[in-house]
Amino acid sequence: MAAFLLRRLGLMILTLWILSLIVFFAGQIVPGDPGRATLGQFAAPSAVQALDHQLGVDRPLLTRYLSWIGGVLHGNLGTSYAYRSAVEPFIRAALINSIKLALLAFVIVVPLGIIGGVIAALYTGRGVDRVISVTGLSLASLPEYVTGIVVIVVFGVTLKWLPVTASAGQGAGVLSQFQHLILPAIPLVFILFGYISRMARAGTIEALNSDYTRTAVLKGLPQTTVIRRHVLRNSLLPTITVIATQTGYLIGGLVVVETLFNYQGLGNLIYKAAVAKDFAMLEAGVLIIGVVYVLATLAADLLLTALNPRLRTGGPA
């Protein structure tokens, strides 16, 4: 178990290191310099040079990477070009907002996805299954703003049930915040429903076809008991991994939803940083998303290993 853990941690660090390289160098192939982008077209060349020097972007690439990654390792995520202050408070506030939205989406979608997948599996190949599968697959590949606009038009504009902006404003109560987050959460729920129900369906079908399920049926257990005690316990294992790894998507793929609903989350922060060519902010934000994904995957692996002892000692999985 210790060796397994160490190996997972080693792989995780390797992945994060490669990720930091990709993020950093993607930010460097951009035409134009940050000083010019910040100060605008009409700034004096000397002022642009001074700002570039102050930001450190006139140094060689390798020096910049080393000082950036060194700073990140010490908890210093860099200095925003646009705001001329540390990016860390911005990232922290945005991350908390994004987590609120993501959490609400998860709370809605996990039970729905599992129920949908299990129902589809119980009626494999029949109408109900095809409808759930095709709907899930379609919803999963619809851009968030498409479903977002449909729910805004229906619930916000026509029925006027819910507010169409995500932020409840300063000092709003928990209930009001929650109310504002329902509409933005729906597109995320749609996207995730496809994956979770698909995994739950596949896991359930596998469990239904297994010998232990046949034994349970043959020894005369009622169908609901068979499903609850024998099928579900086994079928939900792979679903846990999917749910955990979708956190990475959720925290990052929020770009569109947060932009559409004008919500100050991590996705919106990255989008604005990209438009303003604020690469310090962009790099830090993208790196945080990668870290969240890698940590979530690790957590899923550990949880899965804890729940399924066969994975600990078996050969390559």
Binding site: F4, R7, R8, L11, L14, I18, L19, I22, V23, A26, G27, V30, S133, V134, L137, S138, S141, L142, P143, E144, Y145, V146, I149, V150, V153, G156, V157, V164, I191, L192, G194, Y195, R198, M199, T241, V242, T245, Q246, G248, G252, G253, V255, V256, T259, L260, I270, Y271, A274, K277, L282, V286, I289, G290, Y293, V294, T297, A300, L311, P316, A317
Partner: protein
Amino acid sequence: MSDTGGPPSPSADPLGALGTQTVAIAVEAPTQRVAPAAWRLLLRRPTFLVGAGILLFWIVCAIFGRSFAPYDPLAQQLLASNQASSAAHWFGTDPLGRDVLSRVIVGARTILIITPLATILGTILGTALGLAMGYLGGWFDTVASRIVEAILALPFVIIAFLFAVAVGPSVPAITVIIGLVFTPLIARTVRAAVLAERSLDYVPAARLLGERPARVMFGEILPNVMPAILVEFTVRLAYAVFGVATLSFLGFGIQPPTPDWGADVAANYTGLLAGYWWQTLFPALAIASLVVAITLITDSIEQVLAS
């Protein structure tokens, strides 16, 4: 994904899970060529016919749209701005008085050009990489797997977006970016399919006959993993629509005034608060119908390959 042990972990890309899932089904199917019989099976499926019908409609719009659209999609009539749907303008008009129906019809063109090209590019590169990773193995596979893993740690949209910011918006740029972002995803699926094939007798047999690695990979293994690649291709196609439409919405795709569904939604969604819902709802529904059409086709192909 990793060949170095540990439980399998699905990707950050939401469709990754679906992709591998479909491959599992496709690989189980006997690996014959997709014969006319398969075509006949496909044509008997109502879901396939509906999907193909919608897709065909948009292809006709993309090619001939300009000639049958009721108005010039770029013509502004500032006196007729923000009009709700009427007999003259079925889908209403946008803030510049342009006809929304005409823009939806002509807007099919850009997305229908970029989507297949990007998916084909990604499939070719991903297949080559996946074949090499699965067949050669060793250090090449280990290094490539690590890099693929790192790229997949970021949501697809974020990477595409990062590179779109870097190289600037243009049609060729988006096509290449989406193709490149798909490469590791497709490579992973192909690699898994190749690993399953590699242990079958015909591969060592070909090697013993003295065939070079490239010949074994492309001549022997490739035809046998084709069904898996075909399913992966159609799944990715739907996801390419997602990618192109999302980049357009974020302003890194087609630039105005060229009619484009994603860009039109982005330009007009603030009008929702004023009640001008038709300016965004119709382009959004157009994207939705295209995605659903491709999904129906994908699902039918999968069903036929599995039967």
